[in-house]
């Protein structure tokens, strides 16, 4: 069942992002749903599965992106790995912590993408990229990720039996 969900995620996230990018964008910036998905897998399941899903989603993203290099193929598993490792060192994943983690991971991902693009492409203005893409996208990713996290937490707590909280 878990693998079916992963397969559905890989097959749906990228088409959703390609087709509905305009509809979910604010001031021309849309959230990186793939990054959010990989981070949530890292937070909830672990780094191994986050890396595996990250490779698949990153590959799909690069197929549909106008970029010539395979930046997402490298970045998405890395993000999943970092999310999984961060989760291991946390006692409790509260929404605030998740918000900070998602924001930080999105910033890291954006900075690496900027480096890749400026080294392999026509070069780019860092401040323009930071102001126009990296920072707004990180905010967007963090808010969306926490919203999804809260939904997942609500859903899982509704499914969990009450007796599980008792030590008796």
């Amino acid at each position: 069942m878990k693998y079916v969900v992963y397969a559905a995620l890989v097959l749906l996230v990228v088409p959703f992002q390609v087709v509905l990018a305009d509809r979910i964008s604010i001031a021309g910036i849309h959230p990186d749903l793939a990054l959010v998905a990989v981070c949530l897998i890292g937070f909830y399941i672990g780094e191994v599965e986050a890396v595996a899903v990250g490779v698949a989603i990153g590959f799909m993203l690069d197929l549909f992106s106008g970029g010539a290099h395979w930046g997402n193929l490298f970045l998405k598993p890395l993000t999943g790995l970092l999310a999984g490792r961060a989760r291991r060192n946390l006692v409790n994943l509260t929404p605030k912590v998740a918000l900070l983690l998602l924001f930080g991971l999105s910033i890291v991902s954006g900075l690496i993408m900027f480096l890749l693009k400026s080294l392999t492409g026509a070069g780019a203005d860092f401040f323009a990229a930071a102001r126009g893409i990296i920072f707004p996208q990180a905010c967007f990713d963090a808010v969306l990720g926490v919203a999804l996290l809260l939904l997942i937490q609500r859903w899982t707590s509704a499914r969990a039996p009450l007796a599980a909280t008792s030590y008796e």
């Binding site: 390609v18 992106s65 106008g66 070069g123």
Partner: protein
């Protein structure tokens, strides 16, 4: 027990009296009914008051009931009308969308007919999934004869070039992306340069001669020297000229003619060489410039 005899005697007398009275009422003319009518009027006057009351209550109930029925009817009618309005609004929006699509497709068809190059029309199905590149995804691919580097345009002007091709999809890098570069020339001065995208979502023409007389408002078109874009397709207009000390070339900012946020259909030039034997140029030629295309025809 009642005595049959006494009953018979008393009742008989009463019945007889009543029979006589009835016969008298029937037989006597109406004018003789005066006393009877006087008694009747008194009784009617007495009964009239409760009768009016009952009538008023009845009328009230009838009015309330009637109003309730009317309201019920109006409510049903209102709901039906609301549904009708919603349906008509939907129809109206759909028709407006169809009209807009028809206009766009007509313009694209006119351009396709006017261009002497082999072209394929495609629909835009998506945008770049990342925020790092400015590209679109179209619904035609290798199976439709598309290849990498083919030029893509709309009735407003050049859009970009194909960078990735799959069987039924292709990715088009827009000319406003920094990684894109097409050869262009200033239509008035014939100075050639390289057009590439900027961070601001505009385009810039670089490597113009230092002595170029380019000015703001000049039209930039494709030069057709390289890539899949034929000569003379409009790219945009010069909005700012950048002259820097100690640089061998000029560069200028271009505002593209195409609105990159709003096109749904595009044409892909599958062969930048002319395929028709027509002697007329693809775009009307301005007087005094035999090889100069008039880009107004594309607007």
């Amino acid at each position: 027990m009642i005595s049959l005899q006494s009953f018979t005697g008393a009742k008989r007398a009463v019945f007889l009296l009543l029979a006589i009275l009835a016969a008298a009422l029937l037989v006597f003319p109406e004018s003789r009914h005066g006393p009877l009518q006087a008694v009747g009027r008194l009784m009617v006057a007495t009964v009239a008051l409760p009768l009016r009351g009952v009538d008023a209550v009845n009328s009230g109930i009838e009015a309330v009931w009637s109003r309730y029925l009317s309201l019920h009817q109006v409510r049903e009618e209102n709901a039906t009308l609301r549904q009708e309005i919603a349906r008509l609004k939907g129809d109206s929006a759909r028709l407006r969308e169809m009209a807009a699509a028809t206009d766009r497709l007509r313009a694209l068809l006119e351009l396709k007919e006017r261009l002497p190059y082999a072209t394929v029309a495609a629909r835009v199905v998506g945008r770049d999934p990342t925020n790092w590149y400015r590209s679109i995804v179209i619904n035609k691919g290798r199976k439709d004869g598309l290849k990498a580097d083919m030029g893509v345009l709309t009735p407003a002007g050049v859009v970009g070039r194909i960078v990735k091709v799959y069987d039924h999809l292709a990715v088009v890098l827009l000319i406003i992306d920094r990684n894109n570069a097409v050869t262009g020339l200033i239509q008035r001065t014939r100075d050639e340069g390289i057009v590439e995208g900027t961070e601001k979502g505009l385009a810039r023409i670089k490597y113009l001669p230092l002595l170029s007389t380019v000015k703001v408002g000049d039209q930039v078109v494709t030069s057709g020297l390289a890539g899949g874009l034929p000569r003379g397709l409009p790219i945009g207009r010069i909005t700012k000229i950048e002259r820097r000390e100690a640089e061998l070339f000029l560069s200028a900012e271009i505002e593209p003619d195409s609105d990159f946020s709003r096109f749904d259909e595009v044409l892909i030039v599958t062969s930048p060489r002319e395929t028709t034997g027509s002697s007329t140029p693809p775009f009307p030629v301005r007087p005094g410039s035999p090889d100069r295309p008039d880009t107004e025809a594309l607007r």
